[in-house]
């Protein structure tokens, strides 16, 4: 067990990170001199993630790439890790820390892309309702902000975003209740990966599929199916596979002393993509190819 270990620490258990797992796996194939691990904290909380990283450092991990639960305010904790091992950030950045680099996408940009989808689908304007797991989480706030920025000056308005505390039963009921409470809503946005499928199902049960524009995030199979069917306008996908794959290779190179991969501003942005009806088959195929690795 003398091979150095590189760890990818995510911010909580979610299917979203399955693609990152595949990326780690692919990188492992190309980095036989390293042990690559992907770690889930058992809860999405700062204290537990901090503890997990402390323990990883103790266990002798050489470099950590982390999707911090709350990067804005965890400066000291992350710096402590950075002082003991090479720290990289992913998913959401912590620019004030001593992390080596950030690799990921911009949630604000992703929100703006969602606005693009809405604008394209509803040229005459409309009223949007959003659904999200944790209203207070950074990624939620940034996506919402990005979308609001993108919609500024148009006739489309994001009137409210309902949270469900990552309880999917509540997520679905929130959509059902919204259909009752706001009959004039013309568009629904699912900000977390499971929100879009819940919107899809609630609309299907209410017989309103196709009547309400659905804007999605991420690539849940139901979301992609809806896009293909035309009942989901389009979805904004990030590329956790690339984060993990490129990130792991970057870390390995960095440890070997090759710092050429780290740009001056420390930001490696892998842009989010809009997947519409035309792109969906190709995207699904590439997903399949990745997990087949």
């Amino acid at each position: 067990d003398d091979k150095p270990t590189l760890a990818f620490v995510v911010n909580g258990a979610s299917d979203f990170w399955k693609a990152a797992e595949a990326g780690v796996k692919k990188a492992q194939g190309e980095l036989p001199d390293y042990n690559l691990e992907l770690k889930y904290p058992e809860q999405s909380s700062v204290a537990i993630q901090q503890r997990l990283m402390d323990d990883l450092v103790t266990a002798g991990v050489k470099a950590i790439m982390v999707s911090a639960v709350d990067p804005k305010t965890s400066t000291d904790g992350l710096n402590k890790i950075a002082s003991e091992t090479a720290l990289f950030t992913t998913d959401s950045d912590a620019p004030q820390t001593k992390r080596v680099a950030y690799i990921g996408s911009s949630n604000v940009d992703a929100g703006k892309q969602a606005a693009e989808i809405a604008k394209k689908a509803m040229p005459d304007g409309g009223k949007c309702l959003g659904f999200v797991g944790l209203l207070g989480a950074d990624n939620a706030k940034e996506r919402i902000q990005g979308m609001k920025d993108g919609l500024a000056g148009t006739k489309i308005e994001l009137v409210d975003v309902r949270g469900d505390d990552i309880d999917q039963a509540r997520a679905k009921k929130n959509v059902e209740d919204a259909l009752v409470a706001s009959p004039d809503v013309t568009c629904m946005v699912g900000f977390y990966s499971y929100n879009t499928p819940r919107i899809y199902e609630a609309l299907r049960d209410a017989g309103k599929l196709g009547q309400i524009t659905v804007v999605g995030f991420d690539d849940d199979p139901i979301t992609l199916g809806g896009v293909k069917e035309g009942t989901v306008a389009a979805t904004v996908v990030q590329q956790p596979f690339e984060w993990a794959y490129q990130g792991m290779k970057l870390m390995a190179a960095y440890l070997k002393g090759d710092k050429s991969g780290v740009p001056a501003d420390g930001l490696i942005i892998i842009p989010t993509k809009i997947i519409g009806k035309d792109d969906v088959d190709a995207y699904a195929a590439s997903l399949k190819a990745m997990s087949g690795n």
Binding site: A13, S14, E176, G225, K228
Partner: protein, 331 residues
């Protein structure tokens, strides 16, 4: 219907009326159907919990069992391609086994219900997360099971079938709890287990049966929940559902000391809780206050019930005294 249940019913109606006045859409058939669907799901769960609480026990692992069995059910039919009736029976059997194990640990090995089911809470969720490797169990796009979906998520004449299931289960369980020999034993054990034992009741078996009933009903509702969300992240699915179930029972007049409570009460408790959730959404109250509203209403409900009881007892006492004094000279 007891006075307690009647009070709860009135509270439900008053809250409903106020909400309907503020937002008349509350009374739309579709809203009532949506809400009664969730009443069905949580009601089945809460009845199971009630059977355990009656014996003076508690079942904290409910939420984790909903996650584990839901995950397995979806995995069986969506991934492993098992026939759904077979998967259904298997999941119910698993629920029974879980209940049996809990009951066995509690009655035979004399562990405390709180401890056993707290460990269950931790273990089952861990197992579910391990099973999916912290991923999600869900149906693929277009995967359909028309019969199963009709039974679990469908509607008959506009009424959700889950709600109809709840009504059927409630009637059966009402008879079991309030009219059967077994139900009487449950109450007797909840009141004083020692004395029940001294009356020749096999208390161990009866208590075990209560946990099995809870396990089976929890398994059933796990299937309903799985078919409602159609996708399960084991890390979060069903979290805190044990608290919903316990809260429904407590609102419905159950005492956690055992031996008290009625089936109608626990159903009404569930109705009130779901009405509150619906209200938060319909009146546009920030979702962050959802739990606070629930907690506040439970507290007020329990307080009013308690103070009302004290007041009645006091009045009775005063009346008795007055009557006694008045009657004295006649002797």
């Amino acid at each position: 219907m007891s006075k307690k249940d009647l009070g709860l019913l009135i509270l439900i109606l008053v809250v409903g009326t106020v909400v309907a006045i503020i937002n008349p859409r509350f009374l739309l058939p579709i809203n009532l159907a949506n809400t009664s669907n969730l009443i069905g799901l949580f009601g089945i769960l809460s009845i199971g919990q009630a059977f355990v609480i009656i014996t003076g026990g508690i079942e904290l692992s409910v939420g984790s069992v909903v996650a584990l069995l839901g995950t397995l059910f979806i995995d069986f039919i969506a991934v492993r391609g098992m026939d759904w009736p077979l998967a259904f029976v298997l999941i119910i059997a698993l629920g029974a086994v879980i209940g049996l194990v809990h009951g066995w640990l509690i009655t035979r090995l004399k562990l405390q219900p709180f401890v056993v089911t707290l460990c269950g809470l931790l273990i089952y969720r861990g197992v579910a997360r391990f099973y999916t490797a912290d991923g999600t169990a869900g149906f693929g796009f277009g995967q359909n099971f028309p019969d199963l979906e009709f039974l679990t998520a469908g509607r008959s004449y506009g009424v959700p079938n889950s709600f109809i299931a709840l009504i059927v289960i409630s009637i059966v369980m009402w008879v079991v709890l309030h009219r059967s020999v077994f139900g009487r034993y449950l109450y007797a054990i909840g009141k004083n287990e020692e004395a029940a034992k001294y009356s020749g009741i096999r208390t161990g078996r009866v208590v075990m049966a209560a946990y099995v009933i809870c396990g089976v009903l929890t398994a059933l509702s796990a299937i309903y929940f799985a078919m409602y969300t159609r996708s399960i992240s084991p890390a979060s699915h069903g979290q805190f559902y044990e608290l919903y179930a316990i809260a429904a029972a407590v609102l419905g007049g159950f005492s956690l000391r055992g031996g008290e409570g009625s089936l109608v009460g626990v159903i009404l408790g569930t109705v009130l809780l779901q009405e509150l959730q619906n209200l938060v959404n319909l009146l546009g109250i920030p979702s962050s206050l959802n739990f606070a509203v629930m907690g506040g209403v439970i507290l007020i409900g329990v307080l009013v019930d308690q103070q009302w009881g004290v007041f009645r007892a006091r009045r009775q006492m005063l009346e008795a005294t007055r009557k006694g004094v008045a009657g004295a000279p006649a002797e």
